[in-house]
Protein backbone atom coordinates (compact mmCIF):
# COMPACT_ATOMS: atom_id res chain seq x y z
CA UNK A 1 0.00 0.00 0.00
CA UNK A 2 1.26 3.44 -0.97
CA UNK A 3 0.98 4.87 2.56
CA UNK A 4 3.10 2.12 4.11
CA UNK A 5 5.77 2.51 1.42
CA UNK A 6 5.90 6.24 1.94
CA UNK A 7 6.08 5.99 5.74
CA UNK A 8 9.00 3.55 5.37
CA UNK A 9 10.62 6.01 2.95
CA UNK A 10 10.35 8.60 5.72
CA UNK A 11 12.20 6.22 8.03
CA UNK A 12 9.28 4.89 10.10
CA UNK A 13 8.86 1.37 11.38
CA UNK A 14 5.41 0.46 10.07
CA UNK A 15 3.06 -2.41 10.93
CA UNK A 16 -0.18 -3.05 9.13
CA UNK A 17 -2.95 -4.30 11.41
CA UNK A 18 -6.13 -5.56 9.77
CA UNK A 19 -8.60 -6.46 11.06
CA UNK A 20 -8.02 -3.98 13.89
CA UNK A 21 -6.36 -5.76 16.81
CA UNK A 22 -7.94 -6.15 20.23
CA UNK A 23 -4.94 -4.50 21.90
CA UNK A 24 -2.43 -2.05 20.52
CA UNK A 25 1.19 -3.11 20.79
CA UNK A 26 2.72 -0.96 23.55
CA UNK A 27 5.46 0.57 21.42
CA UNK A 28 3.11 2.31 18.94
CA UNK A 29 3.68 6.10 18.77
CA UNK A 30 1.34 6.95 15.92
CA UNK A 31 -1.68 5.36 14.28
CA UNK A 32 -2.94 6.02 10.77
CA UNK A 33 -6.54 4.88 10.75
CA UNK A 34 -9.27 4.91 8.17
CA UNK A 35 -12.33 6.29 9.91
CA UNK A 36 -15.16 6.27 7.43
CA UNK A 37 -15.33 2.85 5.80
CA UNK A 38 -15.63 0.19 8.43
CA UNK A 39 -17.26 0.43 11.82
CA UNK A 40 -14.45 1.47 14.15
CA UNK A 41 -16.36 2.92 17.12
CA UNK A 42 -15.61 -0.15 19.25
CA UNK A 43 -11.88 0.65 18.99
CA UNK A 44 -12.27 3.99 20.72
CA UNK A 45 -11.68 2.80 24.36
CA UNK A 46 -8.53 0.95 23.36
CA UNK A 47 -7.14 3.99 21.55
CA UNK A 48 -8.08 6.34 24.39
CA UNK A 49 -6.24 3.98 26.69
CA UNK A 50 -3.00 3.82 24.71
CA UNK A 51 -3.22 7.51 23.69
CA UNK A 52 -1.05 7.42 20.57
CA UNK A 53 -0.95 10.25 18.03
CA UNK A 54 -3.77 9.54 15.62
CA UNK A 55 -4.00 10.50 11.97
CA UNK A 56 -7.38 9.91 10.39
CA UNK A 57 -7.68 8.76 6.79
CA UNK A 58 -10.95 9.88 5.27
CA UNK A 59 -12.62 9.50 1.90
CA UNK A 60 -15.72 11.59 2.57
CA UNK A 61 -16.61 14.78 4.33
CA UNK A 62 -19.90 13.30 5.43
CA UNK A 63 -21.16 14.25 8.91
CA UNK A 64 -20.42 10.68 10.06
CA UNK A 65 -16.77 10.94 9.00
CA UNK A 66 -16.41 14.35 10.56
CA UNK A 67 -17.93 13.12 13.82
CA UNK A 68 -15.53 10.18 13.87
CA UNK A 69 -12.57 12.55 13.46
CA UNK A 70 -13.74 14.52 16.48
CA UNK A 71 -14.68 11.45 18.55
CA UNK A 72 -11.26 9.91 17.99
CA UNK A 73 -9.59 13.26 18.67
CA UNK A 74 -7.51 12.94 15.48
CA UNK A 75 -4.29 15.00 15.55
CA UNK A 76 -4.05 15.06 11.76
CA UNK A 77 -6.12 14.09 8.74
CA UNK A 78 -5.17 12.83 5.30
CA UNK A 79 -7.70 12.24 2.57
CA UNK A 80 -8.04 9.57 -0.08
CA UNK A 81 -6.97 9.16 -2.79
CA UNK A 82 -3.66 9.27 -0.97
CA UNK A 83 -0.70 11.11 -2.47
CA UNK A 84 2.74 11.40 -0.91
CA UNK A 85 2.68 15.19 -0.64
CA UNK A 86 1.11 16.09 2.68
CA UNK A 87 1.71 12.85 4.57
CA UNK A 88 4.92 14.06 6.22
CA UNK A 89 3.24 17.35 7.10
CA UNK A 90 0.30 15.66 8.80
CA UNK A 91 2.66 13.23 10.50
CA UNK A 92 4.83 16.01 11.95
CA UNK A 93 1.79 18.06 12.91
CA UNK A 94 0.14 15.08 14.61
CA UNK A 95 3.30 14.23 16.57
CA UNK A 96 3.65 17.84 17.65
CA UNK A 97 -0.01 18.26 18.63
CA UNK A 98 0.01 14.92 20.43
CA UNK A 99 3.09 15.95 22.40
CA UNK A 100 1.68 19.38 23.15
CA UNK A 101 -1.63 17.91 24.26
CA UNK A 102 0.26 15.51 26.53
CA UNK A 103 2.26 18.34 28.10
CA UNK A 104 -0.90 20.38 28.66
CA UNK A 105 -2.72 17.43 30.24
CA UNK A 106 0.22 16.75 32.58
CA UNK A 107 0.30 20.40 33.59
CA UNK A 108 -3.43 20.42 34.30
CA UNK A 109 -3.13 17.26 36.42
CA UNK A 110 -0.35 18.88 38.43
CA UNK A 111 -2.32 22.08 38.91
CA UNK A 112 -5.39 20.12 40.04
CA UNK A 113 -3.30 18.22 42.58
CA UNK A 114 -1.82 21.46 43.86
CA UNK A 115 -5.23 23.04 44.23
CA UNK A 116 -6.63 19.98 45.98
CA UNK A 117 -3.66 20.01 48.36
CA UNK A 118 -4.06 23.69 49.04
CA UNK A 119 -7.73 23.24 49.94
CA UNK A 120 -6.78 20.42 52.33
CA UNK A 121 -4.09 22.52 54.00
CA UNK A 122 -6.56 25.35 54.45
CA UNK A 123 -9.19 23.06 55.94
CA UNK A 124 -6.70 21.33 58.27
CA UNK A 125 -5.35 24.69 59.43
CA UNK A 126 -8.86 25.87 60.35
CA UNK A 127 -9.51 22.58 62.14
CA UNK A 128 -6.35 22.74 64.22
CA UNK A 129 -6.97 26.39 65.02
CA UNK A 130 -10.52 25.74 66.20
CA UNK A 131 -9.72 22.61 68.19
CA UNK A 132 -6.69 24.05 69.91
CA UNK A 133 -7.85 27.63 70.19
CA UNK A 134 -4.84 29.04 68.43
CA UNK A 135 -4.73 31.46 65.53
CA UNK A 136 -4.52 30.33 61.89
CA UNK A 137 -0.88 31.25 61.55
CA UNK A 138 0.15 29.20 64.56
CA UNK A 139 -1.96 26.31 63.28
CA UNK A 140 -0.32 26.47 59.87
CA UNK A 141 3.15 26.56 61.45
CA UNK A 142 2.24 23.51 63.52
CA UNK A 143 1.13 21.67 60.40
CA UNK A 144 4.24 22.62 58.46
CA UNK A 145 6.60 21.66 61.31
CA UNK A 146 4.91 18.24 61.56
CA UNK A 147 5.30 17.72 57.83
CA UNK A 148 8.97 18.74 57.93
CA UNK A 149 9.68 16.52 60.93
CA UNK A 150 8.02 13.49 59.33
CA UNK A 151 9.39 14.31 55.87
CA UNK A 152 5.93 14.20 54.36
CA UNK A 153 4.26 16.54 51.89
CA UNK A 154 2.24 19.25 53.61
CA UNK A 155 -0.87 18.22 51.69
CA UNK A 156 -0.79 14.61 52.85
CA UNK A 157 -0.32 15.58 56.51
CA UNK A 158 -3.29 17.90 56.08
CA UNK A 159 -5.35 15.13 54.50
CA UNK A 160 -4.49 12.73 57.36
CA UNK A 161 -5.64 15.30 59.91
CA UNK A 162 -8.89 15.89 58.04
CA UNK A 163 -9.70 12.20 57.71
CA UNK A 164 -8.71 11.51 61.32
CA UNK A 165 -10.96 14.32 62.46
CA UNK A 166 -13.85 13.04 60.35
CA UNK A 167 -13.41 9.50 61.64
CA UNK A 168 -13.17 10.55 65.29
CA UNK A 169 -15.96 13.10 65.26
CA UNK A 170 -18.16 10.36 63.81
CA UNK A 171 -17.44 8.46 67.06
CA UNK A 172 -17.97 11.55 69.19
CA UNK A 173 -14.23 11.96 69.85
CA UNK A 174 -11.90 14.81 69.06
CA UNK A 175 -8.26 15.38 68.18
CA UNK A 176 -6.05 17.00 70.72
CA UNK A 177 -2.39 17.78 70.52
CA UNK A 178 0.16 15.35 71.89
CA UNK A 179 1.98 16.41 75.07
CA UNK A 180 4.57 19.10 74.53
CA UNK A 181 3.50 19.92 70.99
CA UNK A 182 1.64 23.11 71.77
Amino acid sequence: MALIDHLRRLGSDVTMAWPPPRDLPPEIDTIFMQLDDAAVGHLLPMIEDAAPALIAIVTYESPTSLKAIVDFNAHGVISKPLRPLGILTQFVLARYRHGYEGRLAAKIRKLEDTMKGRRAVEKATKLLAALNKIDDEAAYRLLRDRATAKRLPLASVAESIISAHEAMSGLGLRISLAEGDA
Binding site: R9, L10, R83, P84, L85, L88
Partner: protein
Protein backbone atom coordinates in the same frame (compact mmCIF):
# COMPACT_ATOMS: atom_id res chain seq x y z
CA UNK B 1 4.03 -2.64 -34.43
CA UNK B 2 5.26 -2.57 -38.06
CA UNK B 3 3.52 -0.26 -40.48
CA UNK B 4 3.63 2.69 -38.09
CA UNK B 5 7.18 1.98 -37.01
CA UNK B 6 8.54 5.31 -38.14
CA UNK B 7 6.20 7.41 -36.07
CA UNK B 8 8.48 9.04 -33.51
CA UNK B 9 8.29 8.94 -29.74
CA UNK B 10 7.39 12.48 -28.81
CA UNK B 11 8.87 13.84 -25.59
CA UNK B 12 9.13 17.31 -24.06
CA UNK B 13 12.25 19.23 -23.06
CA UNK B 14 11.93 22.08 -20.62
CA UNK B 15 15.32 23.67 -19.97
CA UNK B 16 16.09 27.40 -19.84
CA UNK B 17 18.38 28.47 -22.68
CA UNK B 18 18.04 32.08 -21.59
CA UNK B 19 17.69 33.83 -18.24
CA UNK B 20 19.62 33.60 -14.99
CA UNK B 21 20.01 29.81 -15.00
CA UNK B 22 20.93 29.46 -18.68
CA UNK B 23 24.47 28.16 -18.12
CA UNK B 24 23.48 25.08 -16.11
CA UNK B 25 20.26 24.44 -18.00
CA UNK B 26 21.94 24.71 -21.41
CA UNK B 27 24.18 21.91 -20.16
CA UNK B 28 21.08 19.89 -19.29
CA UNK B 29 19.77 20.65 -22.77
CA UNK B 30 22.96 19.61 -24.56
CA UNK B 31 23.32 16.43 -22.51
CA UNK B 32 19.75 15.43 -23.30
CA UNK B 33 20.14 16.33 -26.97
CA UNK B 34 23.37 14.36 -27.34
CA UNK B 35 21.77 11.26 -25.84
CA UNK B 36 18.70 11.56 -28.08
CA UNK B 37 20.94 11.91 -31.16
CA UNK B 38 22.93 8.84 -30.13
CA UNK B 39 19.80 6.81 -29.53
CA UNK B 40 18.28 7.86 -32.85
CA UNK B 41 21.55 7.20 -34.72
CA UNK B 42 21.49 3.69 -33.29
CA UNK B 43 18.00 3.09 -34.71
CA UNK B 44 15.80 4.72 -32.09
CA UNK B 45 13.74 2.80 -29.54
CA UNK B 46 11.90 -0.24 -30.91
CA UNK B 47 12.63 1.12 -34.36
CA UNK B 48 11.14 4.54 -33.71
CA UNK B 49 13.17 7.73 -33.25
CA UNK B 50 12.77 10.08 -30.30
CA UNK B 51 11.42 13.50 -31.31
CA UNK B 52 11.74 16.16 -28.63
CA UNK B 53 9.54 19.24 -28.40
CA UNK B 54 11.67 21.93 -26.76
CA UNK B 55 10.55 25.08 -25.00
CA UNK B 56 12.66 27.71 -23.26
CA UNK B 57 11.08 28.86 -19.97
CA UNK B 58 13.82 31.47 -19.52
CA UNK B 59 14.28 30.53 -15.88
CA UNK B 60 10.85 31.85 -14.87
CA UNK B 61 8.64 29.65 -12.69
CA UNK B 62 5.39 30.85 -14.31
CA UNK B 63 6.77 29.98 -17.76
CA UNK B 64 7.81 26.54 -16.51
CA UNK B 65 4.26 26.03 -15.27
CA UNK B 66 2.50 27.13 -18.45
CA UNK B 67 4.93 25.35 -20.80
CA UNK B 68 4.63 22.12 -18.82
CA UNK B 69 0.86 22.41 -19.19
CA UNK B 70 1.22 23.04 -22.92
CA UNK B 71 3.46 20.00 -23.37
CA UNK B 72 1.12 17.69 -21.48
CA UNK B 73 -2.28 19.07 -22.46
CA UNK B 74 -1.82 20.46 -25.96
CA UNK B 75 1.21 18.72 -27.42
CA UNK B 76 0.08 15.49 -25.84
CA UNK B 77 3.43 14.25 -24.57
CA UNK B 78 3.70 12.07 -21.45
CA UNK B 79 7.39 12.49 -20.76
CA UNK B 80 9.25 15.69 -19.93
CA UNK B 81 12.96 16.05 -19.39
CA UNK B 82 13.22 19.27 -17.51
CA UNK B 83 13.78 21.66 -14.66
CA UNK B 84 16.95 22.39 -12.78
CA UNK B 85 16.22 24.77 -9.93
CA UNK B 86 13.98 23.36 -7.22
CA UNK B 87 11.77 26.40 -7.57
CA UNK B 88 10.89 25.37 -11.13
CA UNK B 89 10.38 21.74 -10.19
CA UNK B 90 8.05 22.74 -7.38
CA UNK B 91 6.22 24.97 -9.87
CA UNK B 92 5.57 22.22 -12.43
CA UNK B 93 4.94 19.39 -9.96
CA UNK B 94 1.18 20.00 -9.49
CA UNK B 95 0.74 20.25 -13.30
CA UNK B 96 2.70 17.04 -13.90
CA UNK B 97 0.63 15.21 -11.29
CA UNK B 98 -2.70 16.56 -12.51
CA UNK B 99 -2.01 15.64 -16.14
CA UNK B 100 -0.32 12.39 -15.11
CA UNK B 101 2.97 13.08 -16.86
CA UNK B 102 6.44 11.76 -16.05
CA UNK B 103 9.15 14.31 -15.24
CA UNK B 104 12.78 13.22 -15.54
CA UNK B 105 14.62 15.64 -13.25
CA UNK B 106 18.41 15.62 -13.72
CA UNK B 107 19.57 18.16 -11.15
CA UNK B 108 20.95 17.84 -7.67
CA UNK B 109 18.46 19.14 -5.13
CA UNK B 110 17.66 19.25 -1.42
CA UNK B 111 15.52 16.10 -1.14
CA UNK B 112 12.36 15.79 0.95
CA UNK B 113 10.25 14.99 -2.07
CA UNK B 114 8.68 11.95 -3.65
CA UNK B 115 6.18 11.85 -6.46
CA UNK B 116 5.03 8.90 -8.54
CA UNK B 117 5.19 11.30 -11.49
CA UNK B 118 8.87 12.20 -11.11
CA UNK B 119 12.15 10.32 -11.51
CA UNK B 120 15.05 12.01 -9.73
CA UNK B 121 18.47 11.39 -11.28
CA UNK B 122 20.62 14.01 -9.56
CA UNK B 123 22.34 13.73 -6.20
CA UNK B 124 20.42 14.29 -2.99
CA UNK B 125 22.08 15.65 0.15
CA UNK B 126 23.37 12.40 1.66
CA UNK B 127 25.26 11.84 -1.62
CA UNK B 128 27.24 15.08 -1.57
CA UNK B 129 26.94 17.20 1.61
CA UNK B 130 27.86 14.51 4.10
CA UNK B 131 31.28 13.81 2.65
CA UNK B 132 31.83 17.48 1.92
CA UNK B 133 31.23 18.57 5.53
CA UNK B 134 33.74 16.02 6.70
CA UNK B 135 36.25 17.05 4.08
CA UNK B 136 36.01 20.77 4.92
CA UNK B 137 36.41 20.18 8.66
CA UNK B 138 39.30 17.79 8.19
CA UNK B 139 41.23 19.56 5.43
CA UNK B 140 40.44 23.19 6.13
CA UNK B 141 39.25 23.70 9.69
CA UNK B 142 36.22 24.20 11.89
CA UNK B 143 35.21 27.82 11.12
CA UNK B 144 32.71 27.78 8.25
CA UNK B 145 30.64 30.53 6.63
CA UNK B 146 27.42 29.39 4.97
CA UNK B 147 25.88 31.44 2.17
CA UNK B 148 23.05 30.89 -0.31
CA UNK B 149 20.51 32.25 -2.74
CA UNK B 150 17.17 32.82 -1.10
CA UNK B 151 14.85 29.94 -2.06
CA UNK B 152 14.09 26.38 -1.07
CA UNK B 153 17.27 24.53 -2.20
CA UNK B 154 19.80 26.80 -0.43
CA UNK B 155 17.73 27.15 2.75
CA UNK B 156 17.27 23.39 3.11
CA UNK B 157 20.80 22.44 2.03
CA UNK B 158 22.34 24.98 4.37
CA UNK B 159 20.19 23.81 7.25
CA UNK B 160 21.53 20.28 6.71
CA UNK B 161 25.10 21.55 6.24
CA UNK B 162 24.87 23.52 9.49
CA UNK B 163 23.71 20.39 11.33
CA UNK B 164 26.56 18.38 9.79
CA UNK B 165 29.17 20.98 10.70
CA UNK B 166 27.90 21.38 14.25
CA UNK B 167 27.52 17.62 14.80
CA UNK B 168 31.15 17.11 13.81
CA UNK B 169 32.86 19.77 15.88
CA UNK B 170 32.73 22.75 13.51
CA UNK B 171 31.21 26.20 13.97
CA UNK B 172 29.10 28.20 11.53
CA UNK B 173 30.47 31.72 12.03
CA UNK B 174 28.15 33.40 9.54
CA UNK B 175 25.08 32.63 7.43
CA UNK B 176 23.86 34.94 4.65
CA UNK B 177 21.23 34.84 1.90
CA UNK B 178 20.88 36.93 -1.22
CA UNK B 179 18.08 37.04 -3.80
CA UNK B 180 18.51 34.82 -6.88
CA UNK B 181 19.06 37.98 -8.92
CA UNK B 182 21.33 39.63 -6.34
CA UNK B 183 22.92 42.93 -7.36
CA UNK B 184 26.66 43.29 -7.88
CA UNK B 185 26.79 45.57 -4.83
CA UNK B 186 25.15 42.94 -2.61
CA UNK B 187 27.53 40.24 -3.89
CA UNK B 188 30.57 42.45 -3.34
CA UNK B 189 29.39 43.28 0.17
CA UNK B 190 29.07 39.56 0.84
CA UNK B 191 32.63 38.98 -0.40
CA UNK B 192 33.83 41.74 1.92
CA UNK B 193 31.99 40.13 4.83
CA UNK B 194 33.67 36.81 4.06
CA UNK B 195 37.06 38.51 3.94
CA UNK B 196 36.36 40.08 7.33
CA UNK B 197 35.31 36.74 8.87
CA UNK B 198 38.26 34.88 7.28
CA UNK B 199 36.62 31.45 7.60
CA UNK B 200 38.45 28.18 7.02
CA UNK B 201 35.98 27.57 4.18
CA UNK B 202 32.78 28.95 2.69
CA UNK B 203 29.89 26.62 1.91
CA UNK B 204 27.88 28.23 -0.88
CA UNK B 205 24.49 27.40 -2.29
CA UNK B 206 24.45 30.64 -4.23
CA UNK B 207 23.45 29.39 -7.68
CA UNK B 208 23.13 30.28 -11.36
CA UNK B 209 24.27 33.67 -12.60
CA UNK B 210 24.70 35.13 -9.12
CA UNK B 211 27.22 32.38 -8.39
CA UNK B 212 29.17 33.26 -11.52
CA UNK B 213 29.44 36.87 -10.39
CA UNK B 214 30.21 35.84 -6.78
CA UNK B 215 33.19 33.73 -7.88
CA UNK B 216 34.40 36.57 -10.12
CA UNK B 217 34.25 39.13 -7.30
CA UNK B 218 35.86 36.66 -4.91
CA UNK B 219 38.83 36.40 -7.26
CA UNK B 220 38.94 40.17 -7.80
CA UNK B 221 39.02 40.70 -4.03
CA UNK B 222 42.28 38.73 -3.97
CA UNK B 223 41.22 36.27 -1.27
CA UNK B 224 43.56 33.25 -1.09
CA UNK B 225 41.38 30.44 -2.47
CA UNK B 226 43.65 27.65 -1.23
CA UNK B 227 43.26 28.89 2.35
CA UNK B 228 39.67 30.14 2.13
CA UNK B 229 38.00 28.12 -0.65
CA UNK B 230 34.34 28.20 -1.59
CA UNK B 231 32.80 24.73 -1.54
CA UNK B 232 29.57 24.03 -3.40
CA UNK B 233 27.39 21.26 -4.77
CA UNK B 234 26.76 23.03 -8.07
CA UNK B 235 29.65 25.20 -9.30
CA UNK B 236 31.10 22.86 -11.93
CA UNK B 237 33.21 22.97 -15.11
CA UNK B 238 30.52 24.82 -17.07
CA UNK B 239 30.34 27.84 -14.78
CA UNK B 240 34.12 27.86 -14.27
CA UNK B 241 34.41 28.06 -18.06
CA UNK B 242 32.14 31.13 -18.04
CA UNK B 243 33.92 32.87 -15.15
CA UNK B 244 37.44 31.95 -16.27
CA UNK B 245 39.51 29.06 -14.96
CA UNK B 246 42.24 31.32 -13.55
CA UNK B 247 39.66 32.92 -11.25
CA UNK B 248 38.30 29.64 -9.84
CA UNK B 249 41.27 27.41 -9.00
CA UNK B 250 41.22 26.13 -5.45
CA UNK B 251 37.44 26.11 -5.08
CA UNK B 252 35.78 22.84 -4.13
CA UNK B 253 32.92 20.86 -5.70
CA UNK B 254 31.17 17.84 -4.20
CA UNK B 255 29.53 15.94 -7.06
CA UNK B 256 29.11 12.48 -8.53
CA UNK B 257 30.69 13.53 -11.83
CA UNK B 258 33.78 15.41 -12.99
CA UNK B 259 35.03 15.63 -16.56
CA UNK B 260 38.38 14.29 -15.31
CA UNK B 261 36.88 10.94 -14.22
CA UNK B 262 39.22 8.43 -15.79
CA UNK B 263 36.97 5.75 -17.25
CA UNK B 264 36.59 4.60 -20.83
CA UNK B 265 32.84 5.35 -20.80
CA UNK B 266 33.61 8.90 -19.67
CA UNK B 267 36.35 9.40 -22.26
CA UNK B 268 33.85 8.38 -24.96
CA UNK B 269 31.21 10.75 -23.55
CA UNK B 270 33.59 13.71 -23.29
CA UNK B 271 34.83 13.24 -26.88
CA UNK B 272 31.30 12.94 -28.22
CA UNK B 273 30.20 16.00 -26.26
CA UNK B 274 33.09 18.13 -27.49
CA UNK B 275 32.69 16.87 -31.06
CA UNK B 276 29.05 17.88 -30.99
CA UNK B 277 29.13 21.18 -29.04
CA UNK B 278 32.66 22.52 -29.43
CA UNK B 279 36.14 21.51 -28.31
CA UNK B 280 36.38 24.27 -25.72
CA UNK B 281 33.07 23.42 -24.04
CA UNK B 282 33.66 21.25 -20.96
CA UNK B 283 31.36 18.43 -19.90
CA UNK B 284 29.99 18.73 -16.36
CA UNK B 285 27.70 17.14 -13.79
CA UNK B 286 24.86 19.08 -15.47
CA UNK B 287 25.31 17.68 -18.97
CA UNK B 288 26.30 14.21 -17.77
CA UNK B 289 23.23 13.75 -15.54
CA UNK B 290 20.89 14.82 -18.33
CA UNK B 291 22.72 12.57 -20.82
CA UNK B 292 22.63 9.55 -18.52
CA UNK B 293 18.96 9.87 -17.58
CA UNK B 294 17.96 10.11 -21.25
CA UNK B 295 19.72 6.82 -21.95
CA UNK B 296 17.99 5.28 -18.93
CA UNK B 297 14.70 6.55 -20.38
CA UNK B 298 15.44 4.82 -23.71
CA UNK B 299 16.16 1.52 -21.97
CA UNK B 300 12.95 1.82 -19.97
CA UNK B 301 10.95 2.74 -23.05
CA UNK B 302 12.30 -0.29 -24.92
CA UNK B 303 11.02 -2.49 -22.11
CA UNK B 304 7.69 -0.73 -21.52
CA UNK B 305 6.91 -0.18 -25.19
CA UNK B 306 4.87 2.91 -24.32
CA UNK B 307 5.32 6.31 -22.73
CA UNK B 308 2.40 5.79 -20.35
CA UNK B 309 3.92 7.19 -17.12
CA UNK B 310 3.16 4.35 -14.70
CA UNK B 311 4.38 1.60 -17.02
CA UNK B 312 7.40 3.59 -18.13
CA UNK B 313 8.24 4.57 -14.55
CA UNK B 314 8.02 0.95 -13.37
CA UNK B 315 10.28 -0.13 -16.23
CA UNK B 316 12.75 2.67 -15.48
CA UNK B 317 13.19 1.50 -11.89
CA UNK B 318 14.57 -1.81 -13.21
CA UNK B 319 17.17 -0.46 -15.66
CA UNK B 320 20.89 0.03 -15.24
CA UNK B 321 22.99 2.14 -17.56
CA UNK B 322 26.77 2.35 -17.81
CA UNK B 323 26.93 6.13 -17.43
CA UNK B 324 30.08 8.26 -17.65
CA UNK B 325 30.02 8.60 -13.84
CA UNK B 326 29.57 4.86 -13.34
CA UNK B 327 26.79 2.32 -13.24
CA UNK B 328 23.50 4.14 -12.85
CA UNK B 329 20.33 2.68 -11.36
CA UNK B 330 17.29 3.78 -9.41
CA UNK B 331 16.43 2.97 -5.86
CA UNK B 332 13.07 1.27 -6.25
CA UNK B 333 11.76 2.56 -2.94
CA UNK B 334 12.33 6.26 -3.48
CA UNK B 335 12.79 6.85 -7.25
CA UNK B 336 16.17 8.56 -6.77
CA UNK B 337 19.46 7.09 -8.09
CA UNK B 338 22.40 5.40 -6.39
CA UNK B 339 25.47 7.61 -6.85
CA UNK B 340 29.16 7.59 -6.02
CA UNK B 341 30.04 10.85 -4.23
CA UNK B 342 33.26 12.62 -5.07
CA UNK B 343 35.11 15.78 -4.10
CA UNK B 344 37.08 17.82 -6.58
CA UNK B 345 39.37 20.82 -6.23
CA UNK B 346 39.41 23.19 -9.22
CA UNK B 347 42.69 23.40 -11.10
CA UNK B 348 44.11 26.40 -12.99
CA UNK B 349 42.93 24.78 -16.25
CA UNK B 350 39.27 24.73 -15.11
CA UNK B 351 39.16 20.98 -14.55
CA UNK B 352 38.97 19.24 -11.20
CA UNK B 353 41.53 17.19 -9.32
CA UNK B 354 39.41 14.47 -7.76
CA UNK B 355 40.82 14.44 -4.24
CA UNK B 356 38.36 11.90 -2.87
CA UNK B 357 35.82 9.49 -4.26
CA UNK B 358 33.69 6.94 -2.44
CA UNK B 359 34.63 3.35 -3.24
CA UNK B 360 30.99 2.33 -3.39
CA UNK B 361 27.77 3.90 -4.66
CA UNK B 362 25.66 5.46 -1.93
CA UNK B 363 21.96 4.78 -1.61
CA UNK B 364 19.83 7.91 -2.07
CA UNK B 365 18.21 8.97 1.20
CA UNK B 366 16.08 11.99 0.22
CA UNK B 367 14.33 12.18 3.60
CA UNK B 368 17.60 11.65 5.50
CA UNK B 369 15.81 8.84 7.27
CA UNK B 370 18.82 6.52 7.53
CA UNK B 371 21.72 8.99 7.40
CA UNK B 372 23.49 9.74 10.68
CA UNK B 373 24.72 13.30 11.01
CA UNK B 374 27.57 12.52 13.35
CA UNK B 375 28.82 9.63 11.20
CA UNK B 376 31.81 10.51 9.14
CA UNK B 377 30.98 10.99 5.48
CA UNK B 378 34.45 9.97 4.34
CA UNK B 379 34.60 6.57 6.04
CA UNK B 380 34.71 4.51 2.86
CA UNK B 381 37.26 6.83 1.34
CA UNK B 382 40.62 6.23 -0.20
CA UNK B 383 41.56 9.87 0.30
Amino acid sequence: MSGKTQEPWRVGMLFSRTGLSSVNETEHFFGTALAIEEINAAGGVLGRPIAPICYDPGGRSDAFRSLARRLLAEDGVDVIFGCSLSASRKAVLPIIERHNGLLWYPSIYEGFEYSENVLYTGATLNQNSFALADFLLREHGPRIVVIGSDYVYPRESNRVMRDLIESNGGVVIGEHYLPLDASDEALKALVEEIRRLAPDAVFSTVVVQAAERLYRFYADAGIDRRRHPIASLTFAEDQIHVVGAERCSGHILAAPYFQTLDTSVNHRFVSAYKARFGADRPASMWSEAAYAQTHLFALALAEAGATEPQRLGQAALKQTFAAPKGELMFDRDNRHVWLTPGIGVARPDGQFDIVWRSKVPIRPDPYLAASRFEATGLTDSDA
